[in-house]
């Protein structure tokens, strides 16, 4: 069963140099309270795997806590403009961090391999980009046929950080919009979850069950200024303030 703890205790288990990944997608359910605590505790040399989830990575880069990052997309579709992640962009243009840009499918298939406990996974069509020359991927021969197929290595992050809507006392979690979170939880070695609310009554339809979770933290507003449907929408003013636009 997960330990229900405060944010400080949960994040103190994260070692410098860990490989971490965030649940949520783009502006929705980014685990921002966790990111803020990583920053407060000055966790260093982090290796970040970012499915389109721009704010956590950008915040950690801004604080100089990122050693390397693997990502597919870093931008914000705001109400009146599109903004590229500012600190991420600067870090790349000035060579501050190690990085690997990949099609999102490479991360998805890597996580699938990680969840299954196998060393690699086919990810066909990845070769149709110049990224293929620079990324961790190879062409291999299909052992059952003659076709060459692109494969990517397994991804098993040390930590998955997820913000979800509700949990129960036992630590069962329900993610209303589990875009990538369940796969991430299956692939990661340890999972830390913050939720808007821990309910008195047991959940009857949890999609992220207690046995995946190491620490559970009650953190209302844990995704702000990103949204957490249906609890709150994005705080556009705060996001713009952060992005300086």
């Amino acid at each position: 069963m997960p330990k229900v703890v405060g944010l400080e205790e949960a994040i103190s288990s994260v070692k410098d140099g860990s490989t971490i990944a965030f649940g949520g997608f783009q502006l929705n359910r980014a685990p921002i309270k966790i990111v803020e605590e990583l920053i407060r505790q000055k966790k260093k040399n982090l290796n970040v795997i970012s499915l389109p989830n721009p704010l956590p990575l950008d915040m950690l880069i801004r604080e100089g806590l990122v050693k390397s990052a693997k990502f597919s997309f870093n931008g914000f579709n705001l109400p009146d403009q599109f903004v590229i992640s500012p600190h991420w962009r600067k870090a790349i243009e000035t060579g501050e961090i190690e990085w690997e840009e990949v099609d999102a499918y490479a991360i998805v298939q890597g996580l699938r391999a990680g969840a299954m406990g196998v060393p690699f996974m086919p990810a066909p069509q990845l070769e149709k980009s110049d990224h293929f020359k620079f990324m961790q991927a190879k062409m291999i021969k299909d052992p059952f046929g003659n076709q060459e197929i692109a494969v990517v290595p397994t991804i098993q992050p040390d930590f998955a950080f997820i913000h979800a809507q509700i949990a129960d006392q036992k630590g069962n979690v329900q993610v209303f919009d589990p875009q990538i979170d369940l796969l991430l939880a299956q692939a990661a070695k340890r999972v830390i979850v913050t939720v808007e609310e821990i309910l008195e009554n047991p959940l009857i339809n949890s999609n992220l069950p207690y046995y995946y979770i190491k620490y559970l933290v009650s953190a209302p507003g844990g995704a702000a200024p990103c949204s957490c449907f249906p609890h709150y929408d994005c705080d556009w003013d705060k996001l713009k303030e952060y992005l300086k636009v």
Binding site: L27, N77, P79, E93, D103, A104, P124, L182, L183
Partner: protein, 237 residues
């Protein structure tokens, strides 16, 4: 008539009744086009929004972002991100729209950087899923509101997604068809001269002797776009 309304209409016309359409990140114009097609001629299209909402009902005002959580409110089901590729691999996605930082004459697209990949002069936001999905969906449409010689270049600095056999590109000046064999102008938007396309395209482009004019959005289309986006969110993009 505003340029954005014309482009939304052109994108929408690519969608046929019954098509399965997926929108990726930062895709407000394709989202508007899908709503338009659904209301006027494709009531049975299937729409997947990349935040997971399947067939979301989107009430006005139009959401502030194509990834806004308001899209999750009224939906038939939820699709996890990974399933996008599963559907596409099985031939179950008909159409997707992609934007571009640079496009070359055969249809290769750059969403990665200007300059050297390792030390870019300017970093673009990245591929998202466009490398793989572009080659997996039945029809991929490229669009840009910046038809100029910085976008349309002889050779892209980086190939983020490879050209398909034929690439249709919808721009603020017209509609182009790009392939390894030829780059052709298919139609010119009303009021645009062929010379403007030649001047703003950084590679040779074939102009037919009698260029077709893009059919502008009719009254019904404009009225519907206004109903979908009564506050004019689309003009701020």
């Amino acid at each position: 008539m505003k340029e954005v309304d014309l482009i939304i209409t052109c994108l929408a016309r690519e969608i046929k009744e019954g098509d399965k359409v997926l929108t990726g990140v930062a895709s407000p114009l394709p989202m508007l086009a899908i709503q338009l097609a659904r209301r006027l001629w494709a009531p049975n299209l299937t729409y997947f929004n990349c935040i997971g909402a399947v067939d979301p009902v989107i009430h006005p005002p139009f959401p502030p972002s194509s990834e806004s959580s308001s899209v999750l409110k009224e939906r038939n089901s939820f699709m996890e991100l990974a399933q996008s590729w599963d559907l596409a691999q099985k031939g179950m996605l008909d159409i997707m729209f992609f934007s571009a930082g640079q496009i070359d004459q055969s249809g290769n697209v750059n969403l990665t950087c200007i300059g050297d990949y390792r030390k870019p002069k300017v970093k673009f936001p990245g591929p998202a899923g466009s490398t793989t999905l572009r080659s997996l969906v039945r029809k991929s449409i490229i669009f840009t509101l910046k038809h100029n010689s910085r976008t349309f270049v002889p050779k892209v600095d980086f190939i983020t997604s490879h050209a398909t056999e034929e690439t249709r590109v919808i721009t603020n000046l017209g509609i182009l068809s790009l392939s390894a064999a030829s780059a052709r102008l298919l139609s010119l938007h009303p009021g645009v001269k062929a010379e403007a396309v030649v001047k703003n395209t950084g590679f040779p482009i074939q102009i037919p002797a009698e260029v077709e004019e893009t059919v502008p959005p009719g009254e019904k289309e404009l009225k519907t776009i206004n109903e979908i986006d009564p506050t004019g969110q689309r003009y701020k993009l």
